[in-house]
Symmetry: none
Subunit: 308 residues, 5 copies
């Protein structure tokens, strides 16, 4: 148990030892185990976007075992997926990699400005499948966000009482948020803060752009000269907004990147801005396995400092 992991666990003193144990399992697994950084493989795109869109670029990904092996072989800290994908491999790969059960999901079969999704798995599922935690997506900014917050609240209380870690994906959406605004710095920081206030142990947000979406926020950001030009500065602001570094925040890619090098620069910004790591889905499983592993390993090396 490294000092850094002890320090991070110390941020979660109000949780019971069960939650701390599963948090430690997550932080201590894989190539980044013990560093306090983490890389998670998430594969819920089949549900969220449809299977063809998700897996045609690398058809091996249709097979649920593929993702267990990818996460394992790449040395990820954890693999996160909906109920079915986990059920399809949890016995086969039992004890080999920490699992996070995505407990709600949304599909694109009905056009909605304000996505809401539905709860598709339970705390009991997470326990019977041997997961270390559950995941849940909220969409702050949507008209139904109240329903999402209330479902998350009940899940969180139950999950923590049985020692499961709670991971919250937080994405602002909805009619009042512009497309550009979904990645705006003020919005991403707000997303992270809301998730933390809801009791999330780990928070997943997108990387922010330098756009500011809300007028009232923009005024304050400008008055207080909050640095936002570099990605590193913006990550730092998001981390600050999630309890000043006392909550684990991990990032997915924001604006589309043209090359792996751009991805690596993002990783450097996360690392240098005090972020805790990445959640990398499409960029890892939509290419050949060896390429996915290569990408993930480069990412891990940047986090561990082996690559600058």
């Amino acid at each position: 148990m490294t000092d850094r992991i002890k320090e991070i666990l110390n941020y979660y003193k109000s949780e019971n030892p069960g939650v701390l144990t599963n948090l430690a399992r997550l932080l201590n697994h894989g190539r980044l185990g013990g560093t306090g950084k983490l890389v998670v493989l998430p594969v819920d795109q089949g549900f969220e976007h449809g299977p063809g869109r998700s897996f045609a670029p690398n058809p091996d990904g249709y097979d649920p075992h593929y993702h267990f092996r990818l996460a394992l072989d790449a040395g990820c800290n954890a693999y996160a997926a909906p109920l079915g994908f986990l059920e399809a491999g949890a016995a086969d790969f039992a004890g080999q990699i920490p699992l996070i059960l995505k407990a709600n999901n949304h599909d694109v079969l009905h056009a909605e400005e304000d996505p809401i999704g539905g709860q598709t798995a339970s705390v009991s599922d997470a326990l019977r499948l041997g997961c270390v935690g559950i995941g849940y997506t909220i969409y702050p900014g949507t008209i139904h966000r109240r329903l999402l917050y209330e479902q998350l609240r009940e899940l969180t209380l139950e999950a923590k009482s049985v020692g499961l870690v709670v991971v919250v994906w937080s994405y602002a959406r909805g009619g009042d948020i512009s497309k550009q605004g979904e990645n705006a710095l003020d919005i991403i920081a707000y997303n992270a803060h809301i998730a933390a206030q809801m009791g999330a142990n780990i928070i997943k947000v997108k990387l922010p752009s330098d756009h500011l979406e809300l007028d009232a926020a923009k005024k304050v950001y400008e008055e207080n000269k909050i640095p936002l030009k570099s990605m590193t500065d913006r990550v730092r602001h998001v981390i600050q907004s999630a309890f000043n570094g006392r909550r684990i925040v991990i990032f997915s890619g924001g604006p589309k990147r043209d090359s792996d090098e751009e991805i690596f620069n993002d990783i450097r910004a996360i690392r240098d801005g005090g972020g805790f790591g990445s959640i990398i889905g499409r960029n890892s499983f939509q290419r050949k396995k060896e390429d996915g592993i290569a990408l993930l390993n480069n990412v891990m090396k940047i986090y561990s400092g082996d690559i600058k």
Copy 2:
């Protein structure tokens, strides 16, 4: 146990001893302990307005421990916050300051004439975190207020049965209330009365202006010559409206003030009008810690009579 605290507890004879005990803890803690006046530090602005808008003016406020320490060092009666902020410090500061868990919250990511928010914490959370009470915000005047009233009713019943104090933030909003009307005397008095009728033990409203919003009310106020020119008179009317002094009503700032001296004059009006105290958030944590403490201590001195 001072005579005044006994008198106040006596207003709540229908509550069980558990509620009375937590009410006494609140009233007896901090610099104003025993006076029957109270000053509460609330920090839910991160959720309600976004983290940057809330904490950029004094970046120490991003850290949840900061607010525990501010409330403690200033000698506040209690600290009120959403689930995440309390979880981030409840173990570290256990037993040092009475805590109120804000059990619903609202964000500004969706423009709504009729805010509704969602329940973001439970009575079980309040018990496991060692809180003395829960807080809940209602928006009389909004089209969804029925949902709020009904959620509050269930929470209140459960909270009181386990000895928790119920604090209600009551703000009229919605399409039929003008911006000016939100602070109108008749509206604020109405807000306080509805919260009291819902079973609130402690009521939080804004300071009222001398505007009268509702025509039917205006007629009666004028016929009966209800004094409303001075803030002291208006506070007196609000206190009267909340069961004639038999319910604890505390105030936040209403119309924006230009100087601390204006704030202090408000405090004098609350004191002289029979108000029970203040809930002071942004004015205390959006400045440097020593300045926040200085402000709060001046406020407390006005309440205690050490400053006239």
Copy 3:
């Protein structure tokens, strides 16, 4: 919050902040508040031995309010009693002194070698009465101890989940324990250890004599030369047996004392042996109030070091 209290709370890191909060309330109340020592007034003798035997020596003690006032005026850390006694004063003295609800009781109307008692109050009662914890008596050594252990287990799980402290009175009894053996050092140490293993936050045992009851234990004590001649040594061994000082152990009088000076010597031994304090019932309420307070205050002065 003194360093010593922080150190003690640190022994209970697996508990939720609610339990820590109530533990802190107990440790910070009264004249010994903050020292890490505690003196508790227990009055369950009316139930356990009958009212006449308990209160005739000082008839003021028939009145339940008397004991609230005695505990308050003497500056005790807490008052512990069965349901009825607490109900008779919990509203009148709400918030004035930490209360511990004795959740099981035994009477002497049926001669039993193996006492068992019954559960006479619930966790819900403790919450509605505003208690900081519940108390429960186990009788290791009795044929029915299994029932007591299992009832305690369920109560403990429920109590801790709502933030209540669990106090266990542990007295070996039953056909295989000699009268002398009930106070034997090996037995008292065993009592303390069992209570700690059951999850007690605070443990109450009798002061031990230098007798050793169990042959198998006697052999080990003699081989390992466990010091047992002085009361201080014996207290030290009991504290060691209760997780080496990581659990709060408080003592009642063991063998009957002839004078207050003998009681004070016991207190010195508890203090010097690392004990956490005393629970003093009959010696405090079976004499006139001013004499009871005088005794308790001398006891507290010994604990605080004001008297050597």
Copy 4:
């Protein structure tokens, strides 16, 4: 509401207003309404002793309506009976007299040294029948008393939560209590105290003799010269033992009386010793109705002071 009733209600401040309301109904009904004294008609002898033994002396008593009318016509404060008797008249006499549902009963069809009885009615029954309270009999001193205490505990918690008054019949019995001992002063005082500690609002015991049963108690009674020669003194001691007058204690006849005058002398003793009243069954319904009413009215006149 007389001052005396207010004073009595004040003893029950920890109870919710529902319990206080039903307690007030009881205390304010009938000829003794408002005096703080009460006379209750109990008819559970049919179950406890068999119908013939109970009703043959006055066959009108086989009819459940008879007892409702008797209680009404005599001006009793309440009528207490098992489920069936109440069901047979509760609709007919709805709102005419406070009802107490005897929730457990014992028959004599199986010879037992240690009676235990069974729960024969529920809190739900009490509510649907419009009762002001429930009654429950405990037998301290029996080997199974633990079961009775635990059943009473659960009933009491439930009953009070819905505003019902809890009346406890408390009679020591069992292998270790001599026949004479069942009425001994120390035992009756102990019975009353146990019922009070269990949370009873109203306690029913037998009138005590001057016998002392328990050696340990006898020693203390003699040392402390507790007066016990006159019935008045003995009643005073029982009242003292039930929280020093803070719990309503009512008495049934103890040793068999030869004449009504002896009964009246008992009533005088109850009155002068600070007792709260009587529960008079067989002496009222086992004689002709007008004689029963005459007796009850004389009793009431003694309580009210109309007869010395």
Copy 5:
């Protein structure tokens, strides 16, 4: 994940992935991780035999943290203890070593030919403390074994449904089993088989002697010439009896050994007879820490084949 661990997990295909995950955690932790052999540190002797008898030989063992550290430093696969010992360190050592919660315990304060013990912890406790499994002791042969079997059955069903491994300690006792018979080969084999039939995932028995206790068994053993002269043969028979190697069986020392070399010979016999490992309590914590670690490491080296 080694082939041997995969093979072992394959024996438990009927269990859900949660149980398999925790089983894998156990088998993959520590110095023997991945070998399919395991060494567990159990410390329940304080409860079972008393604290002095257990810890006086090495007083560091009074401190609950000592055993966490011992298990960690020696590289054990898991640490098993009652509720209190785990609560005293579960937060401090969260995620550092797999924990097994001993869910029932027995003390020696009442002489019993037929021990029964009591359930002292729950599945909920195991989850909130982050355990991989629960432990439970059955005493086949005792008159109350039915209670134990039924309590185990319920616990097992609940534990497995939430993914916890079930470890059963199985010791024949009771009036019909001779002292010698408690270690007899036919009895130990029977113990192991009963535990396996009850659904245990891991079984703990004593090392068997060459005695045969039951006449009916003896006849068959002799007829079929079951080899029992060497310990290796006897271990092989026990393993056979526990589903022919399809259930993990671990051994504690049987007959008292005079030297570590004798212990090591036992370990060799367990290894060569197909046993899965050892549970070593007193021999590891009743000596100085470095000696305990040295012993455990030699044991592990024998299991891993590093020592022959």
